[in-house]
Amino acid sequence: MSKLRIALAVFTMFTFSAVLMATDVLAEKQTKIIIDGSTTVGPIAKAFAEYYMSMHTDVNVTISESGSGNGAKSLINGVCDIADMSRFMKLNEYKAAIEKGVTPVAHVVAMDGIAIIVHPSNPVGKLTVEQVRDIYMGKITSWKQIGGSDVAIVMISRDTNSGTYESFEKLVMKKEKIAENAEYVGSNGAIRQRVQSTKAAIGYVGLGFVDRTVKALEINGVYPDPSTVASGVYPVARPLFMFTNGYPKLGSHLFSFVTLYLTPKGQEIVEEIGFVPITRYEYD
């Protein structure tokens, strides 16, 4: 090899290692917060992170959204600091946590309503929880049986690895099996897209996904909106959690991050995303 090439190679190696060392030094000054979990709570965590990192430049927050179950698993294995979950931890998750010396503590950062949606042209405007359950069980098969036109009902549900599905199963289905011919899709947006293009469809989405292209039903006489969800009057509502390992040390970055939902700015962020801040519980 010519001398020029050798010199070039050595120079590249030096620069490379210098850059590596520099980033290493920079990285050590930063506090890292690793978050994993629900796709429902993920947007809240991301918005919080963006705000928090803009206020504190020495903090680095990374967020993944691999599902509530995976978030719990990561917290139990010590891989993440905060587990976003759209459902409470199950008994066997708690058991596994204790065995590994992790004590999960729940922080309720927002309330979420699950709205039952239909196509805007559907004449049906209100149902009871039992009627929704009967629809998804397959007992009610035609819209005519509940005051609509004579068309077969197309039921759309979230896939079984979603926290929204688990909350729906717990709050509406109450241990009954969903009928075989229910269709499953992969996200809140997909349910909305299916319902807005199918006149005979019924589906359920988080409150933040209700817009003009779909119609949300009154359940048990209560319309899903922020005040009815936060006060618990709307029957299909659920809290959204962030779990930490024990209560975070007072004054640490983790503590400030996890209690952001109590600040006015945090509540503003939650509302912007379409969820309900837990402080909005006055219902009139």
Partner: protein
């Protein structure tokens, strides 16, 4: 013998023509080392395959140990997330089978005919244009196909389902009907006298044509009356999967047809066969094994596709009633694995995690067997045909 012979400059080689023992041993070692490194690199793909097989089998066996074989293969109730979980995957196997069958029905006739066109019928300049266009179908990412199926095709089926079905039926059946009328009128007038043949053909052609047209119109009426309630169903998925498998079938079939060679075709023409007779009775049967291999490759493509079925098949774990009702939503093995992977986790839910590996094992077994069958067919044909 002298050792220090001048290095030969024959062809620029640098080795001495007469080498010492030591030099010979050294060279042999070098050859051996080179060969071993190349063998290891070449067998890395085999090693990767063995790894995949090992890990999937290792994680699938616990499921069968916990739940047994019977429920998985015979029950249609799929409720993996409930507390008393049920893992009946029969409807999922049937769903996979239905969309694969549908994809074959779409891709094979179209693909083999297209390959026949490309290799024998189209002029060369047209072929140069047509082949890249067909191959472009293979370049489109599968998620784009799935997105198209979900956002464009499904609402189209829901709004104009009957119309779409009747248009599709016309497109497929009308050319076939024309061919059938011509062939039938030809065949039935062979016994006629020479003078009566042409008017006989015309008369019978009109009669047959009228009958078939009447039948088609009735079918169109019936189909237009159908209303497709849910656009994400087996038909949607089958059509899109058929389009995805098309480039594979066309390419491999065309290679098989080209490999038949000019001599066979020239011999057939020399014996006085028409073009249709040559193609249908000489060329296609000679390329039979290659076309079968193409079909099996298309099957494997359709079975293994995940994104399209996850988005467009509806994911209802139910066997349609009756089983050939393609307008109902179904669920496939690949979509179940993709959909359930996030929450099914190792620490807290054992059977739910391992059942996905059991499904992956079924898919692997199917792919392996079909690949083996395709290999055997091609090898046997090579031995026989030559």
């Amino acid at each position: 013998m002298q050792d220090n012979v001048k290095p030969s400059t024959y062809g620029g080689l640098s080795k001495q023509l007469l080498m010492s023992r030591g030099a010979q041993r050294y060279q042999r070692l070098g050859t051996l080392a080179g060969r071993s490194i190349l063998t290891i690199i070449a067998s890395s793909s085999l090693i990767a395959l063995l790894f995949i097989f090992y890990f999937i089998i290792r994680d699938a066996i616990p499921f069968f140990r916990i739940e047994g074989f019977k429920e998985f293969f015979t029950s249609t109730r799929w409720y993996p997330s409930r507390e008393e979980a049920e893992f009946g995957a029969l409807s999922i196997f049937v769903g996979s089978g239905l969309v694969t069958l549908g994809a074959i029905v779409v891709a094979v006739p179209l693909g083999v005919l297209a390959a026949l066109c490309l290799s024998d019928i189209l002029p060369f300049s047209l072929r140069q244009v047509a082949k890249p266009v067909i191959e472009m179908l293979a370049a489109i990412p599968s998620v784009v196909y799935g997105f198209f199926a979900l956002v464009v095709f499904a609402p189209l089926m829901q709004e104009r389902g009957g119309g779409l079905l009747s248009v599709g039926a016309w497109l497929i059946l009308a050319p076939l009907a024309v061919i059938a009328v011509v062939v039938l009128s030809d065949v039935t007038t062979t016994r006629f006298s020479q003078r009566a043949r042409v008017p006989g053909r015309i008369g019978l052609g009109i009669t047959f044509g009228g009958l078939i047209a009447f039948g088609l119109v009735q079918l169109t009426h019936f189909l237009s009356g159908l209303s497709i309630i849910s656009g994400t169903n087996a038909l949607n998925t089958s059509v899109i999967l058929g389009i995805m498998a098309l480039p594979t079938v066309v390419s491999v079939s065309e290679d098989a047809l080209n490999a038949v060679g000019r001599e066979l075709r020239e011999g057939s023409y020399a014996l006085g066969a028409t073009r249709a007779e040559t193609l249908l009775r000489v060329v296609v049967p000679a390329a039979r094994s290659g076309i079968l291999a193409a079909v099996i490759l298309g099957v494997m493509r359709a079975v293994g596709e995940t994104m399209v079925v996850w988005m467009a098949s509806g994911n209802a774990s139910k066997i349609p009633s009756p089983w050939f009702n393609y307008l109902e939503p179904i669920r496939t093995l690949t979509a179940t694995i993709a959909g359930d992977m996030g929450e099914a986790d190792h620490v807290t839910g054992s059977a739910r995690y391992h059942v996905l590996f059991a499904m992956a094992l079924s898919l692997l077994a199917f792919a392996f067997i079909s690949n083996l069958v395709s290999e055997l067919i091609v090898r046997r044909a090579r031995k026989v045909g030559g």
